[in-house]
Symmetry: C2
Subunit: 296 residues, 2 copies
């Protein structure tokens, strides 16, 4: 299959839904609504929404069944990047080839726009539209999976460890916790909530959840390798930042070659998980391979 045009088509769906749901930009280019839109429309790959749609199709649903979840996922992902880029956190000036939100709108607005996107995710997932489309019990369960993944046990725990371990020596358990938190948790929720809301069985939800664990490792180790081996033009952000900051990563812990082996191991586990599903999992398998082979 042509993964490029598949991604393009899916991204168009997601972008349309984001455009519909985010507050309209008014004439003021520095308004608060403009700030909320700035980072959302800064060229994200929409990996999480695409995973959610793929999970929905895999369990027999349609991509459009989980479009509200897709919007919520992208809002949570984008908020986490906005706060992560702040001067008090990773202090990054560039993201996806554009100045970060706080460089354009100032720190106060960046904090608030992040807060607003996080809150919007839960607003969308409890909206009258969501209540109309999904069975209430499934919707509440998905909301809970999503908030746990985004919360202190998940994404935020990962960010906290990532920042507080800077310059320190970490063991493998800690590095795994960081990756599982800052990257794995939301990828996992994308897959499990996508399956759940599209009517997947508990067994299917569990399988996709376990896929998310491995895919999170693949995604983050690849990100860390790109920081070392990639070039900043393709990545749209500065490279070799992690080493300068003393970030705790698998390449830093194991060396580049062993980190690549580790990534391949988790990619294989991910593909093995999908194997018994046969043809209906081919696209998801192709996405997993893309995540491990991408150049940005």
């Amino acid at each position: 299959m042509d993964l490029g045009s598949y991604f393009q088509q899916r991204r168009a769906l997601v972008d349309k839904a984001l455009d519909d749901i985010l507050p309209k930009a008014d004439n003021d280019p520095l308004s608060f609504n403009a700030a909320m839109r700035y980072s959302i429309f800064a060229g994200g790959k929409r990996v999480r929404p695409i995973l959610a749609m793929e999970a929905a199709e895999l369990v027999g649903g349609k991509a459009s069944d989980v479009i509200l979840l897709a919007v919520a996922l992208e809002c949570i992902h984008t908020y986490s990047l906005i706060h992560d880029d702040l001067p008090a956190m990773d202090d990054d000036d560039q993201r996806r080839g554009k100045p970060t939100l706080h460089k354009v709108f100032g720190e106060a607005v960046a904090i608030l726009a992040g807060d607003a996107l996080l809150t919007l995710a839960f607003d969308v997932m409890s909206s009258p539209e969501a209540i109309r489309v999904y069975r209430p019990e499934r919707l509440l369960k998905a909301l809970n999976l999503l908030s746990s993944a985004a919360g202190w046990q998940g994404l935020i725990r990962g960010q906290f460890l990532d920042i507080s371990m800077e310059g320190k020596t970490a063991d493998e358990t800690t590095v795994t916790q960081i990756v599982a938190g800052k990257t794995g948790a939301l990828l996992k929720a994308s897959l499990s909530c996508g399956a759940l809301l599209a009517g997947g069985s508990p067994k299917e939800v569990r399988l996709l959840s376990s896929l998310g664990d491995n895919l999170g490792m693949v995604f983050q180790i690849k990100d860390d390798l790109l920081d070392i081996e990639g070039n900043s033009k393709e990545l749209g952000k500065a490279v070799r930042k992690d080493q300068n900051k003393g970030k705790v990563t698998f390449p830093a812990l194991l060396g580049v070659d062993d980190a690549k082996d580790r990534m391949r191991h988790h990619l294989k586990c991910a593909l093995d998980t999908l194997e018994p599903l046969g043809e209906r999992a081919l696209t998801l398998a192709a996405i997993c391979r893309y995540v491990g082979n991408r150049i940005n």
Copy 2:
């Protein structure tokens, strides 16, 4: 009635629930869990939880019916204070007589702990416990009222206007928007969600929602008056900050005397709303009067 011991009793209920639900503090006094707990247990008055419990009782429910909502409200309120106090926002060193979170744990942790409390609110409201206790449709509706109140149309809009109008001349419409957003929205949601989750009729929910509008004005104008006329020891924070920062408030717009009149007007409107409910609204009326007469 003895409002003092009533508040004390209610606060104990809320504090117990917060203690149960917030992640346990471990032995490290500077751990992330400790940061989440620091601001929550820094001596808040628990006004929003108490309003939710009172709304529940007013519609024939029990205070304990809305304890999960109470926790969610206090998490959202506390997160908004933590982010509001950050150097990039209002840059406050003291809150409730204690150093603000970022002064103790650093800015990065304060941003993340705020994020974590906001997310925890939605986690609690979609938890298995919540699903067991509330009817799914009511729970989803309450979740949506809460996320809208906390989001870009509500609390965050108020904070954004509050910060971006600093030092500027504002008309009454803008000041009203600021107050309705940064204070009114969550007070209103406390009352309406409390009534909703305890089984209140649409008419009762509407009535309490409208009470929230007026109570928000009373609460904020009183806060602004205390900043001018109060003393920092009783308030537990610096006074006369608003004027120094050129904050847009009703006392700044109208002068102290007219702002007091305005506050009394909204207090009267609040009490008038409750009047037809007779005896069952007496405590809520006493709380409204307290909000307008408090010294901290």
